[in-house]
Symmetry: C2
C-alpha cells in the first residue's frame, strides 16, 4: 500500500516512532511511505523552538534505517496541514488522535476535488510514565524525555 503520514517530529519521541512504525507496517515490505515534514516556517507557529527541517529530516532517516524497513519512502515538506494529501493518489493516511479531524477534512476536500477518499488509520497516543500523552511540548518543557520517562527536574527549566 501507499501510505501518507505527517508531522513535525521534533524531537522524535515514542509517539512519532509508533506513527512511523505503523506506517511502514501498513505499507508492507514492498510498499511506499510518504512522510510530510512540516517546513520551518509552518512549524514556526509552535509554542516551543523547533530544530531546522534538515535536522528533523535526518532524524527520521536515521530511525527508518535503524529499523530496517524495506518499503520505499520519501520525506517532503509540509507547508500547511494538508500538503500533497489532497492531490496525490495513495491508499491510507496514518494519524494520531490529535490529527484525526485533519484526516477527515482531507477526505472531504479530496471528494470535492473528484479524488477518491483514502483509508484512515488512527493510532492512540503513547502514554508517558505519568499516564498522560507523550508530546513534544512536554519534552520541551522538560517534564519527560522522548520515551515518556519523568525527568527528575520536572517542572523546572528544560536544562
Amino acid at each position: 500500500m501507499k501510505i501518507m503520514v505527517g508531522g513535525t517530529f521534533d524531537p522524535l519521541h515514542d509517539g512519532h516512532r509508533r506513527l512511523l512504525a505503523r506506517s511502514f507496517s501498513l505499507a508492507g515490505p514492498d510498499g511506499r511511505v510518504i512522510i510530510g515534514l512540516t517546513s520551518d516556517r509552518f512549524a514556526g507557529s509552535k509554542t516551543h523552538p523547533v530544530e531546522p527541517y534538515e535536522t528533523r529530516k535526518a532524524g527520521i532517516e536515521r530511525f527508518v534505517r535503524e529499523e530496517g524497513y524495506t518499503a520505499a519512502f520519501e520525506i517532503e515538506p509540509l507547508s500547511d496541514r494538508f500538503g500533497s494529501a489532497l492531490d496525490l493518489d495513495f491508499d491510507a493516511l496514518v494519524v494520531s488522535e490529535e490529527t484525526l479531524p485533519v484526516a477527515i477534512e482531507i477526505n472531504r476536500l479530496r471528494r470535492e476535488r473528484g479524488k477518491k477518499k483514502v483509508d484512515i488509520h488512527q493510532i492512540t497516543c503513547v502514554l508517558a510514565e505519568d499516564g498522560r500523552w507523550i508530546s513534544s511540548t512536554r519534552i520541551h518543557r522538560g517534564e519527560i524525555d522522548e520515551h515518556g520517562r519523568l525527568r527528575p527536574d520536572a517542572g523546572t527549566s528544560a536544562g
Copy 2:
C-alpha cells in the same frame, strides 16, 4: 495484533469483504480477529429483512475459509453498537466511514471505564458501478448486486 470488527454482513458484499480482508491483514498471520455479528433482535431494526444469525455467520466463515486467512478468529453476537468492545483487551477496531463515530465513542467510553484506548482503522466504502456506496439496503432494493454491479431491473422489485 488483536482486531475487532462488527456488522450485520447481510448479504456479504464487497464492502464487507474489504472490511474483513483488512481486519485479517492488520491482525497478521498469527493474530486474532473478533467479529461482532449483530443479533437477529438488534439487526431487526433495519429497514429491510435480514437473514438469520446462523446463516450470516456461516457466510462469514465461508469467506474466511476461502481466503485462507490463518489468524485465529471468532464470531460473537452484537446486541448493541458496542458489544464487548468496551471491555475486552485488544489493539485496533476496523470500521467503515459510517461507523467511525461509533469507534470514537467506544474509545471515549473505554477511557471512562479505565480501559486503554484502541487504534482505529477506517476503510473507505467500496463504490458500486454508479459511483455510489455499495450497501445492503441498495442490494435489498434490487439496485445493485453484492459486487456493486447495476442490475438491469434496477428500481423495480428485487426479484
